[in-house]
């Protein structure tokens, strides 16, 4: 049996990737907290992870011809679709950023990024241990 590093790592690398992208989105929201007409964006982590794991209760669109739209076109280059936030308090200048909520989400995401990273790290040490064999 050949060792597939991709399979051995599991879903952790994708999770870290999505966390990093969410971090970028949240940082953009914080940076644009005072920009008129800026719309805050975020991603639905659970839905993304389910689709990355190949599961979920979604019915993917089938493509029978090359001219059909590719539903995975965005996912192919590692990008996840960002959704717009529903503002809790609409602002007169068209900005939908709630700075407190964005900062909380950023802190939460930073911890989750660290935990995903830790899982990945443990996987790597596990594989190294297995490769080394007896000492």
């Amino acid at each position: 049996m050949s060792l597939s590093l991709d399979k051995a790592m599991g879903i952790s690398p994708q999770a870290v990737n999505v966390r990093a992208q969410r971090m970028e989105l949240l940082a953009s929201n914080i940076a644009n907290a005072d920009t008129p007409n800026y719309k805050a964006r975020d991603i639905d982590f659970r839905a993304v992870l389910e689709s990355a794991a190949g599961g979920g209760n979604s019915l993917p669109m089938a493509r029978s011809q090359a001219a059909h739209l590719d539903p995975n076109a965005g996912a192919m280059n590692g990008q996840v679709e960002a959704l717009y936030r529903t503002p809790s308090q609409a602002s007169l200048d068209g900005n939908t950023v709630d700075p407190q909520m964005e900062r909380a989400a950023f802190a939460e995401n930073a911890v989750q990024y660290q935990s995903s990273l830790e899982f990945l790290n443990r996987r790597v040490s596990g594989i190294r241990e297995a490769l080394r064999g007896d000492r």
Binding site: V16, N17, A20, Q21, M23, E24, L25, A27, S28, I30, A31, N32, A33, D34, T35, P36, Y38, R41, G74, N77, G78, Q79, A82, P99, R103, F106, A107, A110, Y113, Q114, L117, L120, N121, V124, S125, R128
Partner: protein, 139 residues
């Protein structure tokens, strides 16, 4: 492919935009009492206009930086004060002071500095996370 490095650009753009805003607040406050002989020469309050910038090289990317689209001058007419002994008074004894609300400027300054702090925090957190990412598999 997203990367955490572009996050530094985003936050840095916000830092520089907010510092331009702080700068205009400072000059508005400094000139709140500057008198002029006629209304056209009076100082006018400056306001910055923020605009978000899409990353040209990566239009589908997640990061959206911010820039100062321009600095506009307030259209509010300067207030006339009757002070005939003021060295800058005109023939009728009036001087003109800019229509600057100090309270409004202070509120603007607080908003700018809070936002600046938030962005510094974002940069600090992402720096730590990047460092941890670089240490994967070393344990």
């Amino acid at each position: 492919m997203s990367n955490l490095f572009s996050l530094f650009n985003t936050s840095a753009s916000a830092l520089s935009a907010q510092s331009v805003r702080l700068n205009t607040v400072a000059s508005n406050l400094a000139n709140a009492n500057t008198a002029a002989t006629n209304p056209d020469e009076a100082y006018r309050a400056k306001q910055v206009l923020f605009q978000s910038v899409m990353d040209q090289a990566n239009p589908n990317g997640s990061s959206t930086a911010v820039r100062v689209a321009g600095v506009t001058e307030s259209q509010a007419a300067p207030h006339a004060h009757y002070e005939p002994h003021h060295p800058q008074a005109n023939e009728e004894g009036y001087i003109f002071r800019p229509a600057i609300s100090v309270v409004e400027e202070m509120a603007n300054m607080m908003s700018a500095s809070r936002n600046y702090e938030a962005n510094v925090e974002v940069m600090e957190t992402s720096r730590q996370l990047l460092q941890r990412t670089l240490q994967i598999g070393q344990g």
